[in-house]
């Protein structure tokens, strides 16, 4: 009798375990993958889990304001510190608290940077079931995740423990890749950052918005905000509060002002970029739209925050080599977005005047040259100091202010140029070859290719139309 009872019990337990495993597995397989840029929560969260344990120096938390503005590639380039933006779309602050708890399970950051948009009045519209779900679903199964479902009003937490009940009908649109997702670690090469593409020609200068009013954020938000502060203190991790640039109204300004005062009283540093952006040369909507910075804006803010971190925190890099290539690649990607979307000649020159880049400049004679004297002198950035009328053909290699080589030819000639160990074949007409494959074609008579010195990654190539006052031409 007892033997049968035990035997039966074991079988029932085994069957129950198989059922639970199936529920867990299919919950992961069938859950919608929010992996489309810009709010690619799947990549951002799974990317965090794919990081080596204790490899992070800086943890960025917050909403889309954080992941559009705080650029780990730029931070790394400036400070050598590893960072990750662990944030989700419109993320309510209580979910940010869950993210912090989740983050600290595998990482031991030396600084936590929190964007405080979630405390604002504007973020109230974010508190929808969909937003909560999107931000919770990708987290690994844990008690914290289970508790987080409780933030959704009238939500059945048990039903969410295995959310296959919500998504099982998606079996018909799932693919083979989904079935292995649970076993994979999908590294996010953007480190949680989203590269916003700048709109060209939408410049509109905004003034600082200042108010003497002070409004405390909603009790629930404030409660979780203080929990984040307490958790950082418990873990002995310095906390830096930031507000990335965005349009603000009276109530939001009063809330940010309240946080500013509170932070000051509690010795917690707080950088409000809404009160700093003009000084930094950040221009709405050229560098960011109503809510988010774009690649240009992220470069400005991330450079500034890097400077702040460098000056105020003595952080020894955990493991700079670990993701060296990936961080530099992100840096190049950022510049690629910035440069390829820049059609303002003067602005372009400011970006190109960078020691990190090598410019490969080619010129093949033009019949009609129509460049003003001022513009002609600006060609020195490309190593061209003689009037183009007197030149038949040339290939210049320039980095920052240094001209590494300058060769004038009679006609069509090819040179081999080595950057970061990569050998490129470049001819005077502007054709660029790598590994016997064309990677760039001439756009005009004067062509420029921008390559990162450290990675050899081609960031941009464009032509300058000498017949048309150096008009920037791209394919």
């Amino acid at each position: 009798m007892i033997k049968t009872f035990i035997k039966g019990g074991i079988k029932i337990l085994l069957l129950a375990s198989i059922t639970l495993m199936c529920l867990y597995y299919f919950s992961n397989v069938l859950r919608p993958k929010h992996d489309e840029i810009p709010n690619n929560t799947y990549e951002k969260v799974s990317g965090y889990y794919a990081l080596e344990d204790n490899s992070l120096d800086i943890l960025f938390l917050g909403t889309s304001h954080a992941y559009y503005c705080l650029n780990p590639g730029v931070i790394y380039n400036e400070t050598g510190l590893n960072s990750y933006v662990f944030g989700g779309e419109c993320q309510p602050i209580e979910i940010t608290y869950t993210y912090l708890k989740e983050a600290l399970k595998t990482q031991n950051p030396k600084l936590v940077v929190l964007d405080i948009f979630a405390l604002s009045n504007s973020s109230e519209t974010c508190r929808t079931e969909g937003i909560y779900r999107v931000n919770i679903e990708e987290l690994n199964a844990s008690i914290d995740k289970y508790d987080a479902y409780g933030f959704i009003e009238d939500e059945n937490k048990l039903e969410n423990a295995f959310d296959v009940s919500l998504y099982h009908d998606l079996w018909s649109v799932s693919n083979l890749l989904d079935t292995s997702r649970i076993f994979r670690k999908d590294f996010d090469e953007s480190f949680g950052y989203t590269n916003g593409i700048p709109n060209y020609g939408t410049t509109w200068q905004r003034e600082y918005y200042y108010t003497d009013n002070r409004i405390k954020p909603e009790e629930k938000q404030w409660d979780y905000f203080t929990k984040i502060v307490d958790l950082c203190q418990e873990q002995n991790i310095p906390l830096l509060l930031v507000k990335t640039p965005c349009y603000i109204e009276e109530k939001d300004a009063a809330i940010y002002g309240y946080v500013f005062d509170w932070a000051k009283d509690n010795d917690i540093p707080y950088i409000d970029y809404n009160m700093k952006f003009i000084d930094l040369g950040y221009v709405f909507d050229d560098d960011g739209d109503v809510w988010h910075a774009n690649a240009r804006g992220s470069l400005i803010i991330s450079n500034d925050i890097s400077k702040y971190i460098f000056e105020n925190y003595q952080i020894a890099p955990s493991n700079s080599i670990l993701y060296h290539d990936q961080y530099l690649h992100l840096y190049d990607q950022t510049y690629n977005t910035i440069l390829t979307n820049c059609y303002d000649y003067d602005k372009l020159l400011t970006y190109l005047n960078n020691d990190d880049f090598t410019l490969l400049v080619t010129y093949l004679n033009s019949k009609d040259i129509n460049i003003s004297k001022t513009k002609e002198s600006s060609l020195s950035v490309f190593g061209i100091t003689e009037p183009l009328e007197s030149t038949n053909a040339l290939i210049n290699v320039v980095s920052g202010t240094k001209v590494l080589s300058s060769n004038i030819y009679d006609g069509l000639t090819t040179e081999e140029i080595v950057v970061a160990g990569k050998t490129y074949q470049l001819d005077t007409s502007g054709y660029l070859k790598y590994n016997d494959k064309y990677i760039s074609y001439p756009k005009c008579d004067l062509n420029v290719t921008v390559i990162d010195n450290r990675t050899g990654f081609v960031i941009d190539n464009f032509g300058l139309d000498t017949n048309n006052s150096l008009y920037i031409s791209r394919e």
Partner: protein
């Protein structure tokens, strides 16, 4: 309920009985219960009538008849009064809601009283036993209509020891039933509902598809429920009768009724058809009896003209089939298997077309659907027209095939016994397939009411 089943095994007979009462009440209360007072009153009265009959049956026969009339009247008031008065008056006269399961409990109580009247059983003298019998949670919503002589004696034998085999078989039967209901019936229902919601919006071939799929939907829904009820009863140590036996493999309409909702058909046979004379008073009387029983069966299913027509038409086809059979009695088919296959197919076609009366109340729509086969120009079924992906449609087709195959097996053997004889790994593979199918293909989750069954409305 499964939880209370687990506790049940660790208790003694008396506690088990108490647990059953609690389980019955809780299960009933889990539904939107209305007019429950009537049900309690009816149980008390019928028990008391039985109790009196035990003392002196001859003296109390009139009271039994009176009680039966009362039960019929109660059913009539709750279920049919508005329907009949509605024929004369434009608006609803009474706004009373029938207690859930009234049709099933009423037949159980009438059956009990008739058995007492005819002295086929000893009247129950234990109210708890009688209460458990009438309100047994596994059967109260949609049957099966268990007979008192089969169920009540089992209540005196509740001290049985834990049996792993009983538990396993009960759970397996429950799981099979749940699979039929939640995976197959509900999934087929998605297609059927779409088509029937917009009859004029679909081409004739879709209406034909709906006729076929609804036949399988209602079968899987009801057989699923019955299997769950039988499995659940098994878990609590009760042996209950089968309610279905591969009905779509019947080769004539009478055979269909011997295989479909067996507990109801046999109830009508034992308590209406046979008392009316059955088949012992000549062909004409026999056909009349069949028509009366069919009419009552239709009426029992619902207070609507479509149900009455459905019942009468079933009676008519039984009569026609019987006449046809008699006319060709001497005919010997050279290919008996082909004749049988054609008969099965014909029976299925007729039965599935008659289900349309069940599903669509409006007789004009019924006519449009049933005649759709004659208007079909193309047999192309496009999944996107049904808001489905091709995979969904194929899956439904696979499920229908699975049901047919299982029914063919059921027709020849006890599937559970056969399954238990399979090697360990095969059985566990089937378990896992069932679990995965449940997770992926079942219709469940937010917005789905797990307690909703087609037969519940009757």
């Amino acid at each position: 309920m499964l939880g209370s089943g687990a506790i049940y095994y660790f208790c003694s007979g008396k506690i088990r009985k108490l647990l059953l009462v609690i389980a019955n009440v809780l299960f009933y209360l889990s539904y939107d219960v209305q007019s429950w007072e009537y049900l309690i009153l009816a149980i008390i009265c019928t028990f008391y009538v039985g109790y009196l009959a035990k003392k002196d049956i001859a003296k109390h026969k009139k009271i039994i008849c009176f009680a039966i009339v009362g039960l019929v009247l109660g059913l009539f008031i709750f279920k049919y009064l508005n329907f009949f008065l509605g024929s004369f008056m434009p608006t609803k006269v009474f706004s009373i809601v029938a207690p859930i399961g009234i049709s099933f409990t009423t037949l159980k109580m009438i059956g009990y009283l008739l058995d007492v009247y005819h002295q086929k059983i000893t009247p129950c003298d234990n109210f708890i036993n009688y209460f458990i019998y009438v309100t047994f949670f596994a059967q109260i919503i949609s049957g099966p209509i268990e007979r008192a002589d089969h169920f009540l004696p089992q209540l005196d034998n509740l001290d049985r020891k834990f049996s792993y085999e009983e538990l396993k078989n009960g759970l397996l039967r429950f799981a099979i039933g749940a699979f039929e209901k939640v995976v197959i019936a509900n999934r087929l229902g998605l297609i059927v509902n779409q088509i029937y919601r917009n009859i004029s919006g679909f081409e004739p071939q879709y209406l034909v598809l709906a006729i076929i799929l609804y036949a399988f939907e209602i079968y899987c829904d009801f057989d699923g429920y019955s299997s769950m009820a039988i499995g659940m009863a098994h878990l609590f140590g009760f042996n209950t009768n089968e309610n279905f036996h591969a009905p779509y493999l019947a080769n004539n309409p009478s055979a269909f009724w011997r295989r479909w909702h067996i507990s109801l058909s046999s109830w009508f046979k034992d308590y209406v058809y046979i008392p009316l004379g059955g088949n012992k008073k000549g062909s004409i009387r026999r056909y009349l009896n069949i028509l009366i029983v069919s009419l009552l069966s239709g009426l029992w299913h619902g207070a609507a003209l479509s149900f009455i027509l459905w019942g009468v038409l079933h009676g008519v086809i039984q009569v026609v089939a019987d006449i046809f059979k008699k006319m060709h009695q001497k005919f010997k088919s050279p290919l008996p298997w082909l004749t049988k296959a054609i008969s099965i197919l014909l029976t299925f076609v007729v039965v599935s077309n008659l289900w349309v009366f069940f599903r669509v109340g409006n007789l004009q729509d019924v006519f449009v659907i049933i005649t759709s086969i004659f208007r079909v120009n193309s047999w192309v079924i496009n999944a996107t027209s049904l808001n489905l992906l091709p995979g969904d449609l194929i899956l439904n087709f696979i499920f229908v095939v699975v049901i047919v195959v299982i029914d063919i097996l059921r027709n020849h053997m006890n599937v559970i016994d056969m399954f238990n004889k399979l090697p360990f790994f095969v059985r566990w593979f089937v378990y896992i397939v069932i679990i995965v199918s449940f997770i992926l293909f079942a219709v469940y989750g937010p917005g789905y009411n797990p307690g909703s069954f087609i037969y519940q409305q009757f």
